[in-house]
């Protein structure tokens, strides 16, 4: 089955291209490239790897008991529960709405469609604190549309939906675009109604893309800070893990922060792993 599908970058709108690639094993490292690799690895270490290692180290600086105490702190747990539940919800909503949006953008055509395509990218590129201010302006106490969601879990979900809007859409869009319509057309010829065609022909092909988009939305939502800060209203019941961590930073309780951070990092790693597995499964299925 020819589904030359293009490799979508999930952090950004994708470009449709055939995915014929050719790295025939690659060349071996010469002196120049070896040096380049060394420099690159050094930079990556200094910038990313060592700092993250420091976080995990500090998280365990109180030993396992210190780690456990901080994980089981009721405030930390409450924040984590809110974070994970909201993020899962957001990922699920994005899976559905993202697919719908991608479908409408690719298969439909109406005046302003390209404008909509453009608008979808805005929340991702917006500074998070601006997103937060925007949300506060619309859903806070001064709401001009009469919706008051300050300090509610709904507001947190709304904020997260805002910043994760493009993820699933951009994941699914290129797959849809490159989809070969022959099979769908054949099914239609044979009498299948559109809903069935979607469910049994198109959807299975889209599932990996949907899953990967939803997973990335989840990863972004879990760590999100600036956009939900203001609308949370300072209530402990709307304090997500990143806000809890920041509070501990303000108290210079670095052990508590590091433990929370380690948990969040573990979640991120699981997400990346999951993505990798999804993609391998998709490739295998062919």
């Amino acid at each position: 089955m020819s589904t030359a599908v293009e490799p979508a970058s999930t952090a950004s709108p994708a470009r449709p291209r055939a995915a014929r690639t050719a790295t025939p094993g690659g060349a071996r490292l010469g002196r120049g490239s070896g040096l380049g690799l060394g420099v690159a690895v050094l930079w990556l270490s200094l910038l990313v790897l060592i700092p993250l290692a420091a976080v995990v180290t500090r998280g365990f600086s109180g030993g396992w008991s210190g780690f456990w105490d901080n994980i089981t702190d009721p405030n930390a747990l409450r924040a984590l529960r809110l974070t994970v539940v909201s993020s899962l919800l957001v990922a699920a909503i994005n899976a559905v709405m993202g697919t719908l949006l991608a479908w409408v953008l690719v298969r439909d055509s109406f005046p302003g469609r390209r404008l909509v395509d453009l608008i979808i990218d805005i929340p991702f590129a917006l500074p998070t604190i601006v997103a937060g201010l925007v949300l506060l302006a619309v859903y806070g106490t001064d709401s001009p549309v009469g919706i008051h969601l300050l300090g509610t879990e709904k507001a947190i979900v709304l904020g997260l939906l805002f910043v994760t809007l493009p993820f699933a859409v951009r994941s699914v869009q290129p797959v849809l675009m490159a989809l070969d319509r022959e099979v769908e057309q054949a099914a239609a010829c044979l009498g299948a109604p559109p809903r069935t065609i979607f469910r049994r022909v198109v959807l299975p092909l889209l599932l990996p893309a949907i899953a990967s988009g939803a997973t990335l939305a989840f990863a972004r939502a879990v760590g999100e800070y600036g956009s939900v800060l203001l609308i949370s209203g300072g209530l402990s019941r709307t304090r997500v893990s990143s806000m809890y961590a920041f509070q501990k930073i303000e108290n210079f309780d670095f052990l508590a922060v590091a433990v929370t951070a380690t948990v969040l990092l573990a979640i991120s790693l699981l997400v990346i792993l999951g993505l990798d597995l999804i993609q391998r499964a998709a490739a295998r299925r062919g």
Partner: protein
């Protein structure tokens, strides 16, 4: 290059160029390096020196005014200021962690003591005001018109009253608030056990514990909660900013005393600034922002935003001070110790 290629290359180049242009113009327009435009070609004794102010969140506007006025004086001509304001505990620990500071002021003494002797000299409080620079009292801020008819502390523990007060883990304001809540029972003739009961009911009604005093005001202003516990000057300041609130000065409350000092690496300009802030002129500026001056004999003009602008600082019937409780070391240990403090235990119990 063909015209189309030029365009494809061109658009992002324009974006980059715009950013660059922004940087250049901002650079060119910013030759002063951030200092106030009032300070120009002064040949004052401290010209060119810089003063880094690190302070607790509440007096930011007062310090903005102080800086502006100080720059007009001889001692202040040509001085360059920078500032960081935040929760008292947080900024204190920041300085302890290496944040540059010349002039420091905190909500309460322990946050200053933390910096002695490494960052602040031991004799910081050897002067006539014992190192204190401003006073205030704890008040109850309510929505405009006082819809819940709050008259004092006891009204706060009624069911359904939503209280906003900062988090004692980071905020100095929070500790003053809690002590005021606790000691009002004692001032009414109650026992320690009754005071603890009150505090427990109080915390059950707390819905939000923002990181700093100023954060708490913002949280309240943005719509959370029914009452805010805060400094009298914070309430006055909010009203000056046009926020729709009123405040109640309870019959029994606590005296807030805020310390200020210069660091061991401070410039002469910083020392001059401290002297200015404690002078009559400086204290008058503080008073304008709702702070009670430390000098009891200081003249106070009208204060906009106060309940009665011509008599902005009413005498408190029963005013408790930190000295009455035995000083901060004792109080911190007894009330706020991370494991056994009275308040810590109540907070943990009420979630």
């Amino acid at each position: 290059m063909k015209p189309r290629r030029l365009w494809r290359f061109g658009a992002p180049m324009i974006a980059a160029g715009a950013a660059l242009a922004l940087a250049v113009t901002a650079c060119g327009g910013d030759s002063d390096g951030g200092s106030d435009s009032a300070a120009t070609s002064g040949a004052g004794p401290n010209a060119g020196q810089s003063v880094a102010i690190v302070g607790y969140s509440v007096p930011k506007l007062a310090y903005d005014d102080l800086q502006a006025e100080f720059l007009k004086t001889d001692a202040g001509k040509g001085v360059k200021f920078s500032e960081t304001f935040g929760a008292s505990g947080t900024v204190s620990k920041s300085v302890a962690s290496g944040q540059k500071a010349d002039f420091v002021t905190f909500s309460l003494e322990p946050d200053m003591k933390r910096l002695v002797p490494k960052f602040v000299a031991e004799d910081w409080n050897a002067d006539s005001t014992k190192g204190q620079i401003t006073n205030s009292v704890v008040v109850i801020v309510v929505r405009k018109g006082n819809p819940l008819k709050i008259t004092g502390w006891d009204d706060l523990i009624k069911p359904g009253v939503k209280i906003v007060t900062p988090d004692p883990a980071s905020s100095g304001s929070a500790k003053w608030n809690i002590l005021a809540a606790y000691t009002h029972t004692l001032a009414e003739g109650g026992t320690d056990a009754q005071a603890q009961d009150y505090l427990t009911s109080f915390f059950k009604n707390v819905v939000s514990k923002p990181a700093s005093g100023a954060d708490a005001t913002t949280t309240f202003t943005q719509g959370t909660g029914d009452v805010l516990i805060s400094y009298e000057n914070e309430a006055i300041g909010a009203k000056q900013k046009g926020v729709d609130v009123d405040y109640v000065v309870p019959k029994e409350t606590f005296l807030i005393e805020n310390p200020a000092a210069v660091t061991v690496t401070a410039s002469a300009a910083a020392k001059a600034f401290l002297t200015y802030a404690k002078s009559d002129e400086g204290q008058a500026i503080f008073a304008k922002h709702g702070f009670r001056p430390t000098d009891k004999n200081a003249t106070i003009g009208t204060v906009e935003g106060a309940n009665d602008p011509s008599k902005p600082f009413p005498t408190i019937e029963k005013l408790t001070t930190i000295a009455d409780l035995g000083g901060w070391s004792k109080v911190n240990k007894e009330f706020f110790d991370a494991d056994n403090g009275i308040v810590t235990k109540i907070e943990n119990a009420t979630g």
